[in-house]
């Protein structure tokens, strides 16, 4: 049998079966079409303007490395006129970041881009390892996610940059859509699909130029371009809903390769069907998204490496429990309105879920307004931002350094690091 020819150039031998549509392509046509599609995404959504300074959220993993490489290529090829900077976060997970940060440092040299590394300890006074030590492995992804989100924005601010691009790919977006359906989170369902989050009012916009790119194609691109990236998985456990959604996405892709793209499409369409009172998004103004950048859990998978559907279940069990309680409480509520003789334990104010819609809507009607956190001054929709709230909880259980905690400055965290060094040395 004669070797199959590339479906595009029809001259070279096809070596790659495109994961997205099973088209048989040669290496250079694959690379060309992969880049062309990202260029298409960037131009049709008017993502950048000439002269923009863009921070690339770089973890050293495949997604952000491919993003950096493709953006550099396209910037030069099509004269976007962008100034690209690599921005890395050091969560402080021993053995997880050391090697990947080394990779980012090499990338900075390879792509001739400036690099800024921001540490959790520097920003929050806590490394992820310390967080896990304090709260255990359960639920630590929330901390990591909230902290990372702000860390990128704060890092960008330090650099005087107001646009951060991240390596979220189509698989991540599809996973988030299914996860929000499973968690029953309509506001996030409405927000998670837009390519840009954060509106003109926010100091830092975020976007995902790889939103339509398949993870498998990103891996292929990295491989064929011989990119230098680091493969690792986060050492800590993923949340059950995301893990569950991720394994579903993988199975769907196996059964029908277009499914990932189809889920993304469904998500975009469904975002328009979320009632305005819930989403806070007016469909008249196109995709104006308020404040999701101050909201930590929209896109947790980002730098977490692959989650591979491990399912700790705790998160789902917790939600199941809460839903059941709501259901019970609301069934008591029905009893009241039906004025059937009832026992003394009817807890009218206890219900939070099942018959919640009117309540929830009422709550959501209070539009989130952009303000700043009273503690750290970072933009937030609440008085105290999510990161500071989490920090408060953490710091409460850390008596030996309680005095320093309120002062979130370089000095105290440096001092803390030293103290911890001492503590470790002594132990």
């Amino acid at each position: 049998m004669a070797p199959a020819l590339c479906a595009i150039c029809r001259t070279s031998r096809a070596l790659i079966i495109r994961p997205k549509n099973h088209q048989k392509l040669c290496k250079s046509c694959f690379i060309a079409i992969f880049e062309a599609e990202i260029h298409h995404t960037i131009t049709t959504t008017s993502l950048f303007s000439p002269g923009d300074r863009i921070a690339i959220g770089a973890s050293g993993g495949k997604d952000s490395t491919v993003l950096a490489s493709v953006l550099k290529t396209l910037n030069e090829r099509y004269n976007y006129g962008l100034e690209l900077v690599l921005l890395s976060i050091d969560e402080g997970i021993k053995g997880y970041r050391d090697d990947s940060l080394e990779t980012v440092k090499r990338n900075a040299v390879q792509y001739d881009m400036p690099l800024k590394i921001v540490g959790y300890d520097e920003l929050y006074g806590w490394t992820m390892d310390q967080v896990v030590e304090a709260i255990g492995k359960k639920g630590n992804c929330t901390y990591c996610g909230v902290f990372r989100r702000q860390a990128l924005d704060r890092g960008a601010k330090m650099l005087g940059i107001n646009h951060v691009v991240t390596g979220h790919n189509a698989d991540d977006v599809a996973e988030t859509i299914l996860m929000n359906l499973l968690r029953g989170d309509l506001p996030r369902l409405a927000r998670s699909t837009s390519i840009v989050t954060g509106d003109a009012n926010s100091e830092v916009r975020r976007s995902k130029p790889l939103k339509y790119a398949y993870e498998k194609e990103i891996v292929l691109y990295a491989h064929h371009k011989k990119l230098d990236y680091f493969t690792t998985e986060c050492l800590y456990s993923p949340e059950a809903f995301r893990g569950s959604a991720r394994s579903l996405i993988k199975n769907l892709e196996r059964v029908r390769p277009s499914a990932i793209l189809d889920v993304v499409r469904s998500g975009e369409d469904m975002a328009k069907l979320v009632p305005e009172v819930v989403s806070g998004v007016s469909h008249c103004k196109s995709q104006k998204v308020s404040l999701s950048s101050a909201d930590g859990e929209d896109e947790g998978a980002g730098g977490c490496g692959s989650v591979n559907g491990r399912n700790s279940g705790g998160e789902m069990a917790d939600m199941e429990k809460k839903l059941r309680q709501d259901e019970e409480a609301s069934s008591r509520e029905v009893d009241i309105s039906a004025s059937i003789p009832l026992s003394a334990n009817s807890q009218k104010h206890d219900r939070i879920g099942e018959s919640k819609p009117p309540q929830k809507m009422g709550k959501k009607l209070v539009r989130q307004t952009l303000g700043t956190c009273k503690k750290c001054g970072y933009m937030s929709s609440q008085d105290i931002c999510k990161a500071c709230t989490l920090l408060e909880g953490l710091n409460r259980n850390r008596p030996k350094i309680e005095i320093e905690v309120d002062v979130e400055d370089e000095e105290s965290s440096t001092l803390r690091r030293r103290m911890e060094g001492i503590a470790l040395g002594a132990g």
């Binding site: 595009i8 549509n21 079409i33 062309a36 599609e37 990202i38 298409h40 995404t41 049709t44 959504t45 189509a170 859509i177 299914l178 359906l181 499973l182 968690r183 029953g184 989170d185 309509l186 369902l189 390519i195 939103k211 339509y212 579903l248 199975n251 769907l252 196996r254 059964v255 029908r256 277009s258 499914a259 793209l261 189809d262 889920v263 993304v264 499409r265 469904s266 998500g267 975009e268 369409d269 469904m270 328009k272 069907l273 979320v274 009632p275 819930v278 279940g313 789902m316 069990a317 939600m319 199941e320 839903l323 059941r324 259901e327 879920g353 099942e354 819609p357």
Partner: protein, 379 residues
């Protein structure tokens, strides 16, 4: 003692938490109840959803006619059983009923043996529930529907002039679709369109589907995965479908496992006229034969086991999605649902960056297909 044994032991020794008379034999979520109370629970949940079809006032209006699709599975059989009793109750009290049922079975298989079995089974239903009108069709009857733009489908167009029987043409049509998911997607679309057509021709006001909470949750994720997210408000919520009649899901507050138990309760003697599907855990290992529907059935079977409230919450969530205004829309040539201008087909949106793949418009005729149908036909 293992957890399971403990539960069994607990069940054996405890009285029903509701009536405090009989022994508890079943559980409703976390409550242990006897079979009577369990049956009562299921019936009440379903009948509550039929509030709109209560007898109101004294004026003797003619009963409203509703189509009940009967697949012979546990859900539709249980729904028929419950509504039959509901109607009987109305007769007993008022000597008239607010609605009547038009029970329709549609044969999905064209094999003569299957057809014979199914018509025999339908006879048993007629004997068992004699009050209602019955009718049956074959899926191939969908090929005769005017509402479908066969031309725009570009798939083994059913040609009436070639003289072949419709069953053969159906086989040819479905056989020409290579992927298992697309095949089952198109078959179920044809099924819905046929039901709607039958309902309209027999002046039914609406269709009562037997979908459980679990089934609706599956559907939410299945349709999302097939790129049909836009259609969810019409597929999981009670209310007017764009076809000009109402879709209702009276079993929407019940889990699949609850309905299966209900249908097998000895007192109902339903089990012998129900066809129980193989469990999905045996779904084919080959991804060629597995469909997205299979995957979701399998997935929710496991979620339902441990997290039933999460299943219900998925349905509550997707039911909150609001249908788009049907102004400025065109009906999809296959599924018939409204497609907003410029959103038809799988090309020309953000996720389609490759304009070369756009099909050429042949002979100026390019009908409107929604994204989901377009994917099943072209992709």
């Amino acid at each position: 003692m293992s957890g399971k044994e403990e539960t069994v032991e607990l069940l054996r020794n405890s009285l029903c938490k509701r009536c405090h008379e009989e022994n508890a034999t079943h559980s409703i979520r976390s409550e242990q109840v006897c079979h009577k109370c369990f049956s009562q629970y299921v019936t009440t949940k379903a009948v509550k959803r039929m509030e709109t079809y209560r007898i109101r006032g004294s004026s003797a209006k003619p009963p409203r006619k509703l189509l009940l699709p009967l697949s012979f599975g546990p859900s539709s059989a249980s729904l028929l059983h419950i509504l039959d009793q509901h109607i009987q109750g109305q007769y007993d009290r008022m000597n008239r009923a607010a609605y009547e049922l038009f029970v329709v079975h549609i044969d999905l298989y064209v094999d003569p043996v299957d057809r014979k079995d199914s018509s025999e089974l339908l006879e048993k239903y007629k004997i068992r529930f004699p009050r209602h009108t019955y009718s049956s069709f074959g899926l191939e009857d969908a090929l005769l529907l005017d509402g479908i733009e066969w031309k725009s489908l570009h798939i083994g167009q059913p040609n009436e002039s070639d003289g072949k029987p419709t069953t053969e043409r159906l086989q040819h049509l479905l056989g020409s679709i290579l992927s298992a998911t697309s095949r089952s997607d198109i078959a179920s679309t044809l099924l819905t369109r046929l039901l709607v057509d039958v309902a309209k021709r027999n002046s039914c006001e609406g269709i009562l589907f037997g979908d459980s909470t679990t089934r609706l949750a599956e559907k939410t994720l299945t349709e999302t995965a097939k790129g049909r997210g836009f259609s969810l408000p019409w597929q999981v919520s009670d209310g007017d479908a764009p076809y000009g009649l109402g879709f209702n899901y009276p079993l929407r507050d019940l889990l699949k496992k609850e309905i299966v138990i209900f249908s097998s309760l000895a007192t109902h003697t339903l089990a012998e006229i129900i066809i129980y599907q193989r469990t999905s855990s045996t779904v084919s290992a080959s991804s060629k034969l597995t469909t997205i529907d299979d995957l979701m059935t399998q997935y929710f079977e496991s979620v339902e086991e441990n997290y039933p409230s999460i299943v219900a919450n998925v349905v509550r969530t997707s039911s909150k999605l609001q249908p788009t205004s049907i102004l400025d829309t065109t009906a999809c040539g296959l599924c018939g649902l409204p497609v907003a201008e410029g959103t038809d087909g799988i090309n020309g949106w953000g996720g389609d960056q490759n304009s070369d793949s756009r099909p050429e418009i042949k002979d100026g005729h390019y009908g409107v297909l929604c994204y989901g149908c377009s994917r099943s036909i072209n992709g």
